[in-house]
Subunit: 219 residues, 2 copies
DNA sequence: GCCAAAATACCGAAATGATGGTAGGGCGGT
DNA sequence: ACCGCCCTACCATCATTTCGGTATTTTGGC
């Protein structure tokens, strides 16, 4: 079993940081490969087009750093991170995503990601991030830390409350939600009051907005 | 002044399709450049990081095909297309975007784009699209045509209705909207009724959902 | 088996939203 | 000058949502 203190054989051989990249957008994959391939101190050892493939290729190659998109088919980034860290708890994973909703960041960090990069990051930002993570450091932009700090103090929603919120965000009325969940309209109202209190809003429309911003539901 | 019937000097010289690419994500830009650069029949002549730069570089290079992201700083894709086509009505522009909301597609096509590609398009799809557009053909995926057909039969919102809808989508109440727009709450209700009728919905929450799906507002 | 949390449910009052009809002022086009 | 459209505005009425407080049952963990 590999661990963080094992000298990585391939690094020793090539002297390069071995990187796995995963993204369902072929353009992004090409771009990452091109940028990384040009660096003298790193190389791409595997490219995956979805989450499942990313886990398989990680198992085969055991790269120094893995760069994963959060939204991918078959298995999303968080799922892939969990699978990978089941094999190696010290695996170094960078999450690369277009969106920065609170919930996605939180889930990714809970799953054990070392760094969280937005896709509009600059070239040097991204390459430096790979180098830092390879050295065992973490790399979370200050703007994201702020978002986290703001969100962490809020209570989390229960499963049922999330069900209600999801239907709410689809534009359903209380009656429609009750029919959909096989509960009474009164119960829906009770759940809604809890949701409003937890999200610190006063109306359903506000709730939709906040839920969307926090990544609790996607409209 | 160039026009569609002028023989393009650079093509005659190099025999390659000269492509301009524009995207604010450096990764995507790199990816496009790598893919296009590998093709024997095309080459990247200019790379822009935002809309204004795209227009400037188009003016300088007059490429055969321009690949533009829709969402860019300083000037969005549609604005860039309009500027470019002011110089050359026959300019061949491909729109490349992550999202496929009805309104964005419609605006892009109205502005005179020849092709509309989603960023998760496959490699060959993208390269073939460039070749087809260079030959003067268009290239709009069937799935997008369907979306358009579905949306075209609906009435369009007036400017004031869009103002109301925007605030609505921010979770504002009728009273808050009225204060924000310096109109009475009654007027807000009148606008809302028009909005509901035009979007074919029955409540404000449904309106938010539909407006977001059609790209009328972004939450 | 017990405790805490979650899910379910009801009542009633107050606020907000939805829907009908109606209408005057402004503005651009024919 | 007239027509159509947009923006504005009001009244009345009904439906829905929001906000108190309260209570039972179910579920999961210790």
């Amino acid at each position: 079993m590999r661990n963080a203190f094992t000298t990585k054989p391939d690094v020793a051989q090539t002297g390069k940081i071995r990187v796995l990249i995963a993204d369902d957008h072929v353009t992004v994959l090409e771009g990452l490969a091109a940028m990384i391939g040009r660096q003298p101190d790193m190389m791409v050892v595997a490219e995956a087009a979805d989450g499942r493939e990313a886990v398989e290729l990680w198992t085969q190659h055991h790269p120094d750093v893995a760069l994963l998109d959060l939204r991918m088919p078959t298995l999303d980034g968080v799922g892939a991170i969990e699978q990978i860290r089941k094999q190696d708890g010290a695996a170094r994973v960078i999450v690369l995503t277009t969106y920065d909703t609170d919930n996605e960041i939180l889930r990714a960090i809970k799953a054990g990601t070392k760094a969280y990069l937005l896709k509009d990051a600059h070239r040097e930002e991204l390459l430096d991030c790979i180098r830092r993570v390879n050295r065992g450091e973490t790399c979370i932009p200050a703007s994201l830390v702020e978002k986290l700090a703001a969100g962490l103090c809020s209570e989390s929603l229960t499963g049922r409350e999330l069900n209600v919120l999801e239907l709410l965000a689809r534009g359903k009325s209380n009656k429609e939600i009750s029919v959909n969940l096989y509960i009474s309209e009164t119960t829906v109202k009770t759940h809604l009051r809890s949701i409003f209190r937890k999200l610190n809003v006063l109306s359903r429309t506000e709730a939709i907005m906040v839920a969307n911003r926090r990544g609790l539901v996607q409209i």
